[in-house]
C-alpha cells in the first residue's frame, strides 16, 4: 500500500478568500511555513473571484496586495484543493487535481467563508434562477449575461453589488427587490456615516445603478417557466406583479460555512458561526477561525480577523491594536446589517406543499411537514442526504421549521473513491499535534 502524497507545514490555512489571504500573509511574515487550500480554481474567495486570473475584475486593485501573500516564499498555495476529512489532530485530507493529499500541520486557520441563504419558493429550481451572489460568482467566471433581463431579489447590501456586477457585464437589471421594509433600510442607510468606506461603497453603487428601481418591502413569490425561467412574480404584501425576465438572482443573506470547523470538532456559536475568542481561537487548541465562517461581518472584518488568526497561529505573543480595532468596527457593521435585513415571516409561507425544499433528493415541503426535526427528516425523507449534504436545504429548513443542524461526518464533500481509499492509508497523524 503506497502512502498518499503528504506536505508538512506549521500553519494550514483553509480558504484563500480575504480572511485566508490575510492569515497566510500574517503567519508567513511571522516566520511560519504555510499551506493554503482552496477549492476554487483560483484565489480571492467570492468577493475577489477572478482577481488573480484571466477573467478581469474591478476589485483586482484592492485584492492585489492581499493576493501577494501567496507569493511569499514560506507560503504554498494549493488551488482546486477541497478539505474533506480530518482523521487526527494535525492531519487534514484534501482532494486535489493531482489526487488526494495529506497536510500535516501544527496549527490550522479555518477561513471557508459563507454561502447564501436560499429559501424555497415555487419555481426556484428552474434553470435561470440562481443565487444573487451565485449569479455574480458565475458572471465573474465568464457566464454571459449581456443583453439579458435580470431581476435581483432577496435581502442585504449584497444585492447592490450583485446588480452592479451584472450591469457591468451588460445585463439589463429590471428591479432590485429587497424584502426588508423601507423604514429599517432607511435607518440603516442613515447610520452608514459610521463606516465611511461602506458609505462610499453605497454611494458608488447608487450612482452605478442610476435608473434601476430598488423596491423595499418586496420579495419574489414564484418563478414561472417550463424548462427555464420566463418570468418572476414579486409581491409587496398587497399586490403581486409579474415581470418577464431571463434570470432571477435571489439570495436572502449569508450562512457561515461552519462545516470545516465542525469537522475539526470546533464548537459552533448560536446563529451558526464558529465560536471564536479574542485571538480568533476556536474551542479546539491550535485551531483558529476567521472571516465570514466566524460571523457574517464583511470584507474588513475578514481581513482583520485573518491577520489576527494568522499571527496567533504563528505563535505571536501580542496582537497589535490596529487589527483588533478594525475587527470591532467591522463587527458592529455586521450587527447593523443583521438588524436591518432580518427576514420577514412572509418568506416562511412561500413554499407550497408541492414545492421542493431539498433539491438534491427532491423532497417537498409537504413531505417534511410531519417531521419532528432535522434528523428525523433526514432518516425518513432523505432530506439533506444528497450530494450537497444539506448545505442548501439545512439552513432553509432551519428558517422554515426551526430545526437545528447537527454534526458533520467525513467526507465533508462528495469525493472520488480513490480519495476515500486514501483516507484509510494516511501516514501517522499530526507532527506534534496542536
Amino acid at each position: 500500500m503506497s502512502a498518499i502524497a503528504t506536505v508538512d507545514c506549521d500553519v494550514l490555512v483553509v480558504g484563500a478568500g480575504p480572511a485566508g489571504l490575510a492569515a497566510a500573509g500574517a503567519a508567513a511574515r511571522a516566520g511560519a511555513g504555510v499551506v493554503v487550500l482552496d477549492d476554487n480554481a483560483g484565489p480571492g474567495g467570492q468577493i475577489w473571484r477572478g482577481a488573480g486570473a484571466g477573467v478581469a475584475a474591478p476589485d483586482a486593485r484592492a485584492a492585489a496586495p492581499w493576493l501577494d501573500a501567496l507569493e511569499h516564499p514560506r507560503v504554498q498555495p494549493l488551488a482546486g484543493a477541497r478539505l474533506f476529512a480530518q482523521p487526527a489532530p494535525g492531519l487534514a485530507l484534501a482532494e486535489t487535481p493531482a489526487g488526494p493529499l495529506a497536510v500535516r500541520h501544527v496549527r490550522a486557520v479555518l477561513c471557508p467563508g459563507a454561502r447564501e441563504l436560499f429559501l424555497p419558493f415555487p419555481g426556484w429550481t428552474l434553470p435561470g434562477v440562481a443565487g444573487a451572489g451565485g449569479l455574480s460568482a458565475l458572471v465573474k467566471s465568464g457566464t454571459p449575461v449581456a443583453g439579458q433581463r435580470v431581476v435581483v431579489a432577496g435581502s442585504g447590501p449584497l444585492l447592490f453589488a450583485v446588480a452592479r456586477e451584472l450591469k457591468r457585464h451588460g445585463a439589463r437589471v429590471l428591479l432590485i427587490a429587497e424584502q426588508a421594509p423601507r423604514g429599517r433600510v432607511a435607518r440603516f442607510a442613515a447610520g452608514l456615516w459610521r463606516w465611511p468606506a461602506k458609505l462610499a461603497d453605497a454611494l458608488a453603487h447608487r450612482a452605478a445603478l442610476a435608473g434601476v428601481p430598488y423596491r423595499t418591502g418586496s420579495w419574489p413569490v414564484e418563478a414561472l417557466g417550463g424548462e427555464a425561467l420566463a418570468a418572476v412574480r414579486v409581491s409587496d404584501g398587497r399586490r403581486v406583479r409579474e415581470i418577464p425576465c431571463d434570470r432571477l438572482a435571489c439570495g436572502f443573506g449569508l450562512v457561515p460555512n461552519a462545516e470545516p470547523a465542525r469537522l475539526f470538532g470546533c464548537a459552533i456559536a448560536a446563529g451558526g458561526a464558529v465560536a471564536t475568542g479574542a485571538r480568533q481561537e476556536t474551542s479546539v487548541p491550535g485551531v483558529f477561525a476567521a472571516g465570514e465562517a466566524a460571523g457574517i461581518a464583511g470584507l474588513e472584518a475578514a481581513l482583520a480577523e485573518g491577520a489576527i488568526a494568522g499571527l496567533a497561529a504563528a505563535g505571536a505573543g501580542e496582537i497589535p491594536a490596529g487589527p483588533r480595532r478594525a475587527r470591532e468596527r467591522a463587527r458592529a457593521f455586521g450587527a447593523a446589517i443583521a438588524r436591518a435585513f432580518a427576514l420577514r415571516d412572509d418568506l416562511r409561507a412561500l413554499a407550497r406543499p408541492e414545492t421542493v425544499v431539498c433539491r438534491c433528493e427532491d423532497v417537498t415541503r409537504g413531505a417534511l411537514a410531519d417531521q419532528p426535526g432535522w434528523r428525523a427528516a433526514k432518516l425518513h425523507t432523505r432530506c439533506g442526504m444528497g450530494p450537497c449534504q444539506g448545505r442548501v436545504c439545512g439552513p432553509a429548513a432551519e428558517f422554515l421549521f426551526g430545526w437545528g443542524a447537527e454534526s458533520v461526518r467525513p467526507p465533508a464533500f462528495p469525493v472520488r473513491l480513490e480519495s476515500l481509499a486514501a483516507a484509510g492509508e494516511v501516514p501517522p497523524g499530526g507532527t506534534e499535534g496542536p
Binding site: 483560483g42 467570492q46 484571466g54 454561502r115 458565475l138 457566464t143 433539491r359 450537497c388
Partner: protein, 91 residues
C-alpha cells in the same frame, strides 16, 4: 483577457476567455439545462460557488464534476444532460 480556449460542449465547439469556468462555457454554448434531478426536473447552477452541486456535468468522461469550479482547458469535452451526462445523483 485576450487568450481564448476552445472546448466542446455536447459535441459543439465553444471558444471562451482563458480562465472562464466550464459553467460559463456551457451557457456560452446556448445550453440552459445542466442536468436533471432525481425526479427528472431540469436544473442549472444555483450557488455558483461549489456548494449546491446543481452544476454537475461530465468532463472528459468523468461524471459529477462541478462546472462552476472547474476552469476550461483546451480540448476539454463537456457533456450536459442533453448528452446524458450526470443524470440523477452519484449515490
Amino acid at each position: 483577457m485576450s487568450a481564448r480556449v476552445t472546448l466542446s460542449v455536447d459535441g459543439r465547439a465553444v471558444a471562451v476567455a482563458a480562465g472562464a469556468s466550464v459553467a460559463a462555457a456551457i451557457e456560452a454554448a446556448g445550453v440552459a439545462v445542466f442536468r436533471h434531478s432525481v425526479t427528472g426536473t431540469a436544473r442549472a447552477p444555483l450557488c455558483g460557488m461549489g456548494i449546491c452541486q446543481e452544476c454537475r456535468v461530465t468532463i472528459d468522461g468523468e461524471p459529477h464534476r462541478l462546472a462552476c469550479q472547474t476552469a476550461c482547458a483546451e480540448g476539454m469535452r463537456v457533456e450536459t444532460a442533453a448528452a446524458g451526462g450526470s443524470r440523477g445523483v452519484g449515490r
